[in-house]
Symmetry: C2
Subunit: 298 residues, 2 copies
């Protein structure tokens, strides 16, 4: 049970966390804070938070848990403001999609990441954003990755783990660098590719026709390109090295496929598409199929 | 009303067409044919077709409409077999995703594309395939593109248009080259990118972890990588030039985004992501939003 929970930066993530904890009776009081009143006003109207103040010192005073739920790059600045207000009895966590830059920023501010600061990232989201999109079940049956460090306090880690489990999430711990590499591959790189494809097509003279004849496959493929550009701009900068590695690995593969298409090399094309289909079906559909070694139809 | 409809190559497309026409009472008899009995047997059991024969001459004798519904590259071979069996009273159409190669193949076989051969492409599909996946509503509220040529018979075009409209589809006519360029951009290129990303990740040493932590965005983004690799191998070869142009345009854009990330050029990253979000939201959500010119949060 959390007596006082403070959310810095009330949006989809913070709002959904507050809703879920309240629904479970796992929190007594939720206080919001931030730089502007709009989302805090909406959160208050929607009953997501019990009160708010723009004064961070007031907001976090006496809090058991403080959640930094701002966009990634703002989280770095929030930490600097929060540093002098932290007390040993307060546990701080965040929800940013990249952990390496948060760790580095905390080390610059505090010397080392404080034992009562637990870096975290719920693997949940939506192409929608804002507190009005928050949902009580956003984290239900989703994974939350925590990236504790050698000096992280066991009790702080336990408290944050219990908080996410109260929302119905499965909590997994991993190394900061591993987290950032895995997320670059499965989330950050796909967002970059989807944004890039849509932007490239939108600049084509025939863009109107192109979008008009797009079917369900294109709609699903590009859904993540409707995500908040500010948030993803932040992530692209915050996880730069891992994303660049991901782009380079992808581009190398695309060069091979391009060459195969240009050369009319059907065997290479089929082998790549077939490996991809089987990998995806195995991982997502649980279909550990025997791969058919049938030749392409040509 | 079609008296006898013959489907060459019974799978998702041909099966769904037969189901829809039967449900509308728009066909009396559906005959299947192909090279193997498996899918024809299943189609017969499911009531999708009324009879089948492996003898193409028998299958098409007296048919009002013959639909070539095989994979793209097989369609080229089927035309050669069908050529001596065509009669002036028979209208032939196809459902292949690329039209330029079908046109070229028909010109080689017939000298010119016969007036009673209407090239067509229903913009509908699924990552599932096979006659057992066929659905009565696969074409409902979907577009079907027909690419008639200068010598295409008006009555043949009208019959094929009416056939698709009976399935609830909206029929649009366009030029062969325009069709292939639009489909390369909205369908073929996205499939190549999705296959390439999944294949690249599957070959990563940490593939199991990568897929394990993939969330809904990745699942949607890669859904089309579960499509039939034989079909997409055919399309990649059949629409080679337009797909290569699409890959090159995409790669140039990705190079720019990569450079912006490497340089920490937040303005360029934000501008690209923001243009993409607005283009997609405008086209798919009908949200003709005023673009916010807000700077990124950094």
């Amino acid at each position: 049970m959390i007596n006082k929970l403070t959310i810095i930066g009330l949006g989809l993530m913070g709002g959904s966390l507050a809703k879920a904890l309240k629904a479970q009776g796992a929190v007594v009081e939720v206080v919001g804070t931030g730089r502007r009143t709009e989302s805090l006003d909406r959160g208050l109207q929607l009953g997501v938070i019990d009160s708010y103040t723009l004064d961070m010192a007031e907001a976090v005073a006496g809090a058991d848990v403080v959640v930094i739920a701002t966009p990634t790059l703002i989280a770095e600045k929030v930490m600097a403001e929060l540093a002098p207000l932290m007390t040993p009895n307060m546990v701080v966590t965040d929800v940013a999609s990249v952990k390496g830059n948060i760790q580095r920023a905390a080390e610059q501010i505090f010397g080392q990441v404080p034992p009562n600061f637990v870096l975290g990232h719920p693997i949940a989201g939506s192409e929608q954003s804002g507190v009005e999109a928050s949902a009580v079940d956003l984290f239900l049956d989703h994974r939350v990755i925590l990236t504790p460090l050698a000096n992280t306090s066991d009790s702080a880690l336990s408290l944050i783990k219990a908080m996410w489990e109260a929302c119905g999430a499965e909590v997994v711990c991993m190394d900061v660098a591993e987290h950032d590499a895995v997320l670059a591959a499965t989330s950050h790189l796909p967002h970059v590719l989807a944004y890039t494809l849509v932007d490239a097509l939108a600049q084509n003279g025939a863009a109107a026709d192109i979008f008009k004849f797009a079917a369900g496959g294109f709609r699903d493929f590009t859904r993540i390109a409707s995500s908040d550009p500010t948030m993803w701009h932040d992530i692209a900068l915050a996880n730069r090295d891992a994303i660049l590695q991901g782009i380079d690995a992808f581009s190398s593969h695309l060069d091979l496929v391009r060459k195969a298409i240009a050369d009319g090399d059907g065997d290479t094309i089929f082998a790549s598409f077939d490996r991809a289909k089987h990998a995806r079906d195995e991982h997502f559909l649980g279909q550990y199929l025997t791969r058919e070694k049938k030749p392409p139809s040509s």
